[in-house]
Amino acid sequence: MKRSVWRKIVLLVVVAIALAGCSGGGSEVGGAVTEKGNDRVLTVAVGTDMVTFDIHDHNNTSTEAIHVNMFNYLFKKDKDGNIHPELATGYEKIDDLTYQVKLKKGVTFHNGDPLTAEDVKFTLERVAKDDTLQEYPNYKQIKEIQVIDEHTFNIVTQSPEPSLFHRLSRLGSGILPKNYIEENGWEHFLSNPVGTGPFQFKEWKRDNRIVFTPYENYFAGKVEEWDELVFRVIPENSTRVSELLTGGVDMAVNIPPSDWERVNSNEGTSIVQERSNRVVMLILRATEGLPTADVRVCQALDFAINNKAITDNVLQGGGIPTRTRVGPGNFGHHPDLYDTYNYDIEKAKALLAEAGYPDGFEMTLHSPKGRYLQDAEVAEMIAGMLAEINVKVNIEFMEWSNFVEMRTANENKDAYLIGLGNSMFDGAYSVDWYRAERFEGHTDYKNDRIEELLATSAVNMNEEERAKQIQEIEAIAAEEVPHIMLHEEKINIGVNDAIDFVPTPDEMIYAPTIKRKASE
């Protein structure tokens, strides 16, 4: 073979390596090297990448957990669900359809523009009117924003909207810079986002990392604790854990129970837990002809499931038994139904016999796999528990997209397992799952008293009464069991012991509250 041909091949390989080596790795090198061992860089490992900087076009909790560091809401909920002004100074009710809100003065966007009522109008009317945006269903209740002066505006709703401030203190209600977006266009904003939050955007390498730096002129004072905030995308659980163990990251979200022991026994790392606002449950189908159409059968299934055994053994303490979806910190929370469960095998058998199934029956349970904490194991344990009352459960495990399609096509059979959150922290949002019209052909559950309570509470502007109405719905549902509540999941985050981080039920990772512990 000719020598020149070999030379060409060698040259080709060298050029390919050189090109690959040069290709876009530059800035990534800096991040990877500096963050390890630099105690002023906070690095958080997340399981999925942020999807966008369009705060109105996603409904992704992990994306929002990042956004909260860059954008501010008008109002903000604390850990107990109390709503406090953030960009606003407060509000005044004008009538059932109108609230007047005043903005804090001296708030600026990261590009230096001052925050005004025009920015609020631009932001909220966009999400309230554009039905292609994913957050539109949660904001379409807003009819318009009337600008009164630079720092004052009225929020006008389509109908009385008792949940308005729950909506305005969650995903989608960060305020956007009107002038910046109008001058530069959306595309520019999406790659060079600007907000009012404590951190400003530095870079986003998709599926790799998102980097922020503290905003000098943040209205509540510059974050002095950190020089840089880095979110690293590490989808594989074991890799995320390994990064935490080796000090590559300071925090790692969603650590599976199988790795808790490994993290806790490693010197310098621990698992921190906090209740989430997500409840895992079985949605039963009450369509006529099915055994679960009989309330006594639903009650029997509920009595046969030992929720505590699931949370203790399968979840290893990673859940709290509950009989309601409306947990603490939610508007309308019913304390008697939380951290409790029904379990009485004899009673379950008696109820089944009473309903005409003394020898049990066969049912299908659809369950996703890998979506919720130990979901497959939970489904299997339930099948085992129901076998004790002679109910044979055929579990159909489904890949998540097929599971979603099964639900949207109303192809659910006797029961399916699902975990439902509530980012509004308003019980009205949770109990709406018992509304007959909404789930016709899906669960076919109907209770006239619940229907009446849902209709009146939806427009009831009296907070105290509305809370009682929601609690009454919860009590009826706990009695009739159209959905068997299993447990509220806990958030599990692996944390380096050198930092002080307390998770919150809304699953946000708000960096200004994360501190370094004083070195001993």
Binding site: V51, D207, S401, V404, R407
Partner: protein
């Protein structure tokens, strides 16, 4: 040769057309992504509204027509997940995947060539048995398992390499070994059999009878000729490498095309899936063409027709 290359390049067009049709059908059959885009508690009304807004309730042929019109302008549409044009996102990931693939091929070549020659020259010896048996075992090892094991040993226990991510050369080593060793296993066996065939040729015997040292016989006469099919096989390994990056990139959080494609399939992000598969198909076809050209360059007996 110029004509041949031109003809092969033109053949790429119908192949890509067929691939894009198949991918479109598969993604269409897999269902629409709207239900996955909205939260668990979205109402049926919300789902229908978003589906209509995104044009996903159009019949198959209209959606396909729109897709083809876009494709003709190399526009794969907007990613549902990222709300932006799909092709730039895919192209942005390509360098990382090329970097990993090239590194993996280097690892494979560095292992396979000495091991292949060694086991051929020591045929049926203990070394040969270990090398060929080891190659089978190594090939059978799943990438994700090997990757996790390498992380545990070399990153967590020994602390020699970073666990994941892309950046310095040290970030590249573990993923390149994970991806490269599987290919090395296959190449080792190929080099071995190729060498064994050449070693029995007359010109090797002639070289030996001239009194040449065994080292020169093997490296100058046998190996060079044994390498001709190896070079083309290496080029043809592209599809294996690309397939391997899907898993390897996920394990090591390597921000390449493989990780993007897995995420896109999970979220039914049609535009990203279509753009990724299109680009991967193009690369594989191009590498096949390159393999044919290399074969001709290395072996003058081959002619293009």
């Amino acid at each position: 040769m110029g004509k041949y290359i031109m003809r092969r390049l033109l053949q790429i067009i119908p192949v890509l057309f067929i691939i894009s049709f198949i991918v479109f059908c598969l993604v269409y059959v897999a269902g629409d992504p709207v239900a996955l885009m909205l939260p668990e508690d979205a109402s049926q009304e919300d789902i229908l509204q978003l589906r209509e807004s995104l044009g996903l309730n159009e019949p198959f042929y209209i959606q396909y027509f729109n897709y083809m019109v876009g494709l003709a302008q190399l526009d794969f549409g907007e990613s549902f997940r990222y709300n932006t044009s799909a092709l730039p996102i895919v192209l942005e990931r390509l360098p990382a995947t090329i970097e990993l693939a090239v590194a993996a091929m280097i690892v494979a070549i560095m292992i396979a060539i000495p091991l292949g020659i060694w086991s051929a020259t020591k045929k049926n010896s203990a070394i040969d048995v270990v090398a060929t048996g080891g190659a089978v075992i190594w090939k059978a090892m799943p990438n994700f398992w090997l990757g996790i094991m390498l992380i545990l040993i070399f990153s967590v226990m020994l602390g020699w390499f970073p666990v994941s991510g892309r950046g310095t050369w040290s970030h590249l080593i573990l993923p390149a070994i994970t991806l490269g060793t599987g290919i090395a296993a296959e190449m080792t066996r190929f080099i071995r059999s190729s060498m064994l065939e050449i070693m029995n040729q007359d010109y090797v015997r002639t070289a030996r009878s001239k009194g040449l040292k065994e080292f020169f016989v093997i490296h100058k006469h046998a190996f060079r000729n044994a390498l001709i099919p190896v070079v083309t096989i290496t080029a043809l390994q592209t599809s294996t490498v690309v397939g391997g990056t899907l898993i390897t990139e996920s394990v090591f959080s390597w921000p390449g095309l493989g990780q993007l494609l897995i995420q896109a399939v999970n979220t039914r992000d049609m535009a990203i899936v279509q753009a990724s598969v299109f680009i991967i198909a193009f690369i594989v076809i191009a590498m096949n063409l390159l393999a044919d050209i290399l074969y001709k360059l290395l072996d003058p007996r081959i002619t293009f027709r």
